[in-house]
Amino acid sequence: MKLSKLGRVLEWMHDHSKLMSGFMLVVMALLVIANFMFPAGYDRFFWESWPGAGAVYGLFSCVVIVVVSKFLGYKFLYRPENYYDNENQPNALTGDPAKRETRDE
């Protein structure tokens, strides 16, 4: 299948993902360094004046969210995909009405 020009540009970026992620890491490092040189200018909460606080909290949040979500998922929430299928077969939960009348005879 022929790709559009835009598709080819994106494909090139995708194929050079090492380069892209390297570039992003440099940007992130520069961002934190810049934060050390230019303070944020807020001090309503004590951490707001710390340079790099956002970076630490971002990484921390990400880990907390993933760990907690997956824990809840595996421990309590995950069900098989057909869990609610009985709703689509009208009598799976309550049984076949024809049989129900005779079942406890």
Partner: protein, 574 residues
Amino acid sequence: MSEIQVAAQAVTQSGFWWHPSFVLILGALVIPFLRGSIQQGYRVALALVFVFLVFQTQTGTYGQFQVAGLDLVTGRVDKLSLAFAYVFSLITLIATIYSLHVKDNIQHVTSLLYAAAATGVALAGDLLTLYVFWEMMMLASVWLIWRNATQAAYTAGYRYLMVHAVSGVMLLAGIVLFFSDTGSLVFDQMQATGWAFYLILFGILINAAVPPMHAWLSDAYPQSTITGAIFLSALTTKTAVYTLIRGFPGTDFLILLGVIMALWGVVYGILANDIRRLLAYSIISQVGYMVAAVGMGTVIALNGATAHAFTHILYKSVLFMAAGAVISMTGKSKLTELGGIYKYMPITFLLYMVGAASISAFPLFSGFVSKTMIVEAAAVEGIAWVWLLLSMASAGTFLYTGLRLPYYTFLRKDVGLRPKEAPWNMLLAMGIAAFFCIFIGINPAWLYSFMPFPVEYNAYSAGHLFWELQLLLFTGLGFFLMVKHLGGERKLSADTDWVYRKFAPKVVYRVAEWVRSTWRAIIGGLLGITNGVWRSMSRTYGDEGVMGQTWGIGVTTIWVVLFMGLYGLYVVLF
């Protein structure tokens, strides 16, 4: 009296006003009589007329009349109602363009009635008008689910209807109590207390999808039609946010509910496998910010809630439209079945990323100028836990809407899908919405000019930029470190709808079973007693009993002679 006041009063007294909702309702009813490209042209023209009518509406009070001694105001137009009406009309136009190729008159009519009703709620000046439009919203919107024509859509739509019926009944009961308490139907900040206050509030909170009554949303929206989802994602929850801002600013416990809501959406967004269910949870998460802001109730918070509702409708529509385009072009809707289609649908992919950057609040995109306002409101109030948890939800939003969904839908490994790019009308609709996302991001003054109160907030301060960029980019780092664990799983995550989908039916069935068996036992017992009586009687009078026997003629003669003899003796002796 100043000239402006005189002019406003003249408008009020003239009483004639093109209510945009009524125009849209009347216009929508014509659609089934039109065919083909004439119908398509008419729908776009109607949406444009609607946008025009909304945008040329001036603040004031219109459409007042009396019914049975009740003062009704169909048009109370101030900055708050206008902000919502503006964005409702814009999304009506965008979604109409997105659904231009669809040939289903029921959807065309009901989607416009739905939009008209939502706008009617935003403009309603009294509670009764609000209630009528509220119910109309429910009745119109359910068709956007049912018309997907699957068994799952049918049952989900039915549950959607039931939950909203509860919301409507609570609202109506609250309104009746409110009227009997205060003798007025004016809808403004709630003065009522007790039952009236809480019934109206909880009726609204159901529509705002506040946990635990939020599961109707994540249950029904993924089952809706591709195009109906755009209307659904924009209107119901945001009208609820509008009524909260109007009626319940500063209701403390909404802060807690809002924060729970924002995080609830994040957890389920991380677990979801269906892409539209993931986006449905991100609606819940984002509306959480607005609910928390209403709870704070300060000027900056209420501006933030309004601004976030405005931007949310636009960026969320981009996300739902892109997801809808992927589903309609590939026929797949699950993360586990998608992948590697970015180069075949590059425009859809990039437009999705614009929406994703907006919802994640990247600088220069619309979410940044509205979401940070709500977080800032928490900082101004000095409520650290709200600030930290909303920031965490912000990181989570980027994690599942901005990274997880696009990575597993568009990038990852090629799973052999070769979809075509979405049709032009879908791309155009996404493009318009994406344009607004960027336009608001770089020109927030345009958005701020619609806000209910003057805005003195600067999103682009060094502090916000540093915090937000670091937060998001390092969340991204975390994502790529844990990417293996974040793919879709062929599982379903149970939510509170479990209560009425699994638990309640079981309870009902158990009770029915108990009633049935008890009834049978009673009937059986009664039958036993009757049988006993019958049997003991038949021992004497039955076929085998003494009295049941037939006698020979001789024996009978002897008995007859004996009794006649006794009778003779009686006559003779006495």
